[in-house]
């Protein structure tokens, strides 16, 4: 049954013109703690150089790195990226669509009152080198901004 489903899935992707490359997608994740500390100018902690432009427009004055990861993820497989004790990120590369854009699925789970729930679940297409911010989730101080970017494997 699973094989039949996978075959139908693959056929649907081919019919839609999508491509599932054999090489893994390079996924880059930077989890940022964003908060307001009353600074006159914006402060970016160490390790945020790559995502500075992606978060600088947000309405916070201080940004600190919580965690970062740079991992290859094969298409069709889900990568689990632990952020902190409360949040976990899952990223699944789905296919390459027109113009070389990557279709991915991303979700963040959180522990809430003893249960794990999907805090955020999204499907999107993104240009390699662009950024997807997942934001609005609360930390003990400030809010969590997860910045995701991708680039094709081997490039």
């Amino acid at each position: 049954m699973t094989a039949v489903s996978l075959t139908l899935f693959a056929i649907s992707l081919v019919a839609a013109g999508d491509e599932v490359p054999g090489t893994p997608l390079q996924v880059s994740v930077v989890a940022v703690q964003a908060k307001n500390e009353g600074r006159a100018s914006k402060y970016f902690g160490p390790g945020l150089e790559r995502v500075r432009r992606a978060v600088s427009g947000l309405d916070y004055d201080s940004f600190y790195k919580v965690r970062s990861a740079d991992i290859p993820v094969p298409y069709g497989e889900e990568a689990k990226i632990y952020i902190d004790g409360q949040y976990t990120l899952y990223v699944t590369p789905l296919s390459v669509v027109e113009d070389g854009r990557i279709r991915i699925k991303a979700r963040i789970t959180m522990k809430l009152k003893g249960k794990t729930v999907k805090a955020l679940d999204t499907t999107l297409t993104m240009k390699p080198g662009s950024h997807l911010n997942l934001g609005g989730l609360r930390l003990s101080s400030g809010e969590l901004i997860v910045v995701i970017s991708v680039k094709s494997g081997g490039s």
């Binding site: 427009g57 805090a119 955020l120 999107l124 950024h131 911010n133 609360r138």
Partner: protein, 150 residues
């Protein structure tokens, strides 16, 4: 089928197109084919002259006579020059308009770097929204309900 090379000249001489010559007369004296043809033509002319009737048209009849002739003359087809000119002008105008639109009108909206297909949350009372940050960045933002959820 005639074989005599003088036959055409004999016919033309009979019709008065050329004057008689000693050469034709001598030929007729010796050519049976041309002599027979000449006799046929004379017989035909005699027959025509015996049947033709002279029709006289009086001055009073003349206007109606001319009117009937004019009525029978098929009027020349009206040439739709104006219609073709209008169609040509319209086609030219369309080409020019299309060219101007192509030049002036903006092309399709550039695709954003990140396009959100769907976003959802299981947190009760929370909503999600897609926010354009800059040309390289799009954000999916979760609006949590007020109060301490934890």
């Amino acid at each position: 089928m005639s074989t005599c090379q003088y036959l055409e000249r004999v016919e033309r001489w009979f019709d008065g197109e050329i004057t008689a010559s000693q050469e034709i007369e001598e030929h007729l004296a010796g050519c049976t084919e041309c002599t027979r043809r000449l006799e046929d033509l004379k017989a035909l002319r005699t027959a025509i002259e015996s049947t033709k009737a002279r029709v006289e048209i009086s001055d009073a009849q003349f206007p109606s006579f001319m009117q009937r002739i004019e009525d029978e003359i098929e009027p020349p087809r009206r040439r739709h020059v104006g219609l073709w000119a209008l169609a040509s002008a319209l086609a030219a105008a369309l080409v020019v308009a299309w060219s101007l639109i192509s030049i002036v009108a903006p092309g399709p909206e550039p695709l954003q770097a990140v396009t959100i297909e769907e976003a959802s949350t299981e947190i009760e009372g929370a909503t999600t929204e897609s926010v354009y940050v800059n040309e390289e960045t799009t954000m999916v933002w979760i609006n949590l309900p007020d109060g301490d959820m934890l």
